[in-house]
Amino acid sequence: MENNNQKFIWREYQKEIADDHFFYVRSCIRQAFFPGSETFFLSFMRNQLGKDVFEDARHTTCTGIGFHGDVVPHETIMTVVARHFALMTEAGYRHVAISCVTSFGIYSEILETWKHFPEIEEKIHQKLILATGRDFNKPDTIAHTSDIIYKFRNEVAAKMKYPLINLNTGEPLKVVEHIGCHYSKMFPQYGVGGAEFPQVLAGMIKAWGGEVVDYPERRHCCGFGFRQYLVQANRGYSAANSKKKFDSMQSYEPDFILCNCPGCTMFMDKWQYTIAELEDTVYGKEGLGIPVLTYEELAGLVLGYDPWDLGLQMHQIPVETLLDKLGINYDPEKKFITQKGENIGTPLIPQHYNIGLKTAGTHSGCC
């Protein structure tokens, strides 16, 4: 009964996700915080699935952070996005693949605005022509890149080396999935599975052998909330929201958290350290924090990519507990060594997350 109804809800929110020929737009912050994620996506799509994914170096920020921070006006952001569409049109593409959930929300909002107010779209055409001499066609489809990995989740499963099973117990790993608010809470029809019981990440977890944890504050904001974080005085509110989620999920003893939004991944990861420092509260069954992954990182792990090539050393919460449960071989000595052999510096180890002590020698550098 429960599963059937849940499936019924998901069926009501199925979106068209293109199969090939994507115009890829990157995130502003993901390359800094999760540097392997976008690299993995491109490598997986192009090299493993043989798909055509095009990037244009002239693509810029969508200005979403500025827009939500009230410093970029609506017309400006629409014109910036219109320019992205112009680049897509010039390159001969019709499907946009968006790496960032903020951008995905911005694109969705703009397309919805133009649908209901065609005169605004016309105005933006004129503004873009005036400013750049470019014009654009609207895309046939827009997909967040988590939609695309969801679409190809069974292809990942077919090549999987490390299913989401706890090697020690033989049980499925318990996974908290968290979608970004701007993925489907504004426009449920734009997200796989809608907003209340989203399927996009849950579908990947199940396809790869894990078990989704449904905890009471599952739908709550991660705590980012642009104005909560961008205005320094509000950051306590941001951390309080994250704490509410961690407190709520703690009794379910999740093995890791899976996110599709850059902001969520960052805050769920970094605020755990902050809360540990502020309150001496450490989450996770082992008291070592709950690792937080992007969906590309997870796909990479189950496919057998090296965790350090995926950029997992950049996470605040060490991921070694998870790697051990999955039975993934990794070299602790290489955690902070680049492919060129350079040492990127070992983070200062927060006393609460002592797993890092295995690799920490110098305590030099800083996260």
Partner: protein
Amino acid sequence: MTNIKKIAVLGGGVAGMETSIQLNRLGYQVDLIEIEDKLGGHVRNWYKLFPDHKPADEFLEKLISNLSATDVQIKTSIQINAFLRKEKKLCLFDQACEFGVYDAVVVATGFDLFEAYRKEEYGFGIYKNVITSAGLETMFLGKTIKTSGGNVPKRVGLVHCVGSRDEKCGNLHCSKVCCITAVKQAITLRQMLPNTEVFCFYMDMRMFGPSYEELYREAQEKWAVRFIRGRISEAAQNADETILIKTEDTLTGRQLKMNVDLLVLMVGMLPSKGTTVIGKKTGLDFGMNRFLKVKDEHYHANETNQEGIFVAGSASAPMNISDTISHARAAATAVDHYLKTTDHERFSEKNNIRNLEKALHEK
């Protein structure tokens, strides 16, 4: 006998049964056609009726007893799926066969309950301790009110307006009966489980019927039911399968977060599938709320845009049982008037009404 006019009443719920009884008493030959194998409609699944807590089966027995005293032909398990006009007669078809030829048809196909899973944020069908008002009536009938874990609930929340007055669901209409149903169910809960706390979460209390307001007061004063003015924004399941709800008490202006053992969704009324199908097959007009549109809300509340086809009960709008009975009786009167007037008289009547409307408009 051959001169006796023949009428088909579609739908064997309260409206259909009462219309059939009244038409038969007026001397007409009536076929009462029901898609299910039993008469009674939704009332069959109800425990007690508001506002007097009359047992639903007692009411139904009376109605069926009245029906048995007539020579109405009861035809159950029949699905009418085609319709044809033959001169002044109306032919109904059951599958591919001609089922009957009638002088008039009364559509009394009623309502369906809103499918609560569509309000995704309440988790009906996903969380075991989220049930509907219909589910609670079933528990009342079985005299067992238990949570999924088999325990007596210590705290129950009743959510009003589920699927009614809700733009997100595409239902702008008020289902009228949910507020008073919640009051009745809250009292029944307190009567059956005296140690259980009961909370009602409402937008407005629409106590439109006789004795309704008094029952609402009694619920508060005698049964200590707590009414909180606020819509629930979200329900989520705790590890112990209790339900965490979030709302706002708009009278105190405070956010509220609490656990309940059982969450009951007061599901609203929508036109039944039968109403929609029959309406489309017979070319009836539909209102904005997707129920059948009547010719005039005040003066021709049983007539439709199709001559010889009438409507009775909640196929035309949400209504309680008392209003359904009145509407059904009015339908019988309207059919009687229709069958007793000649074409010429009807034409004159139409013209008179048109002239009157024109005069009023010009005035």
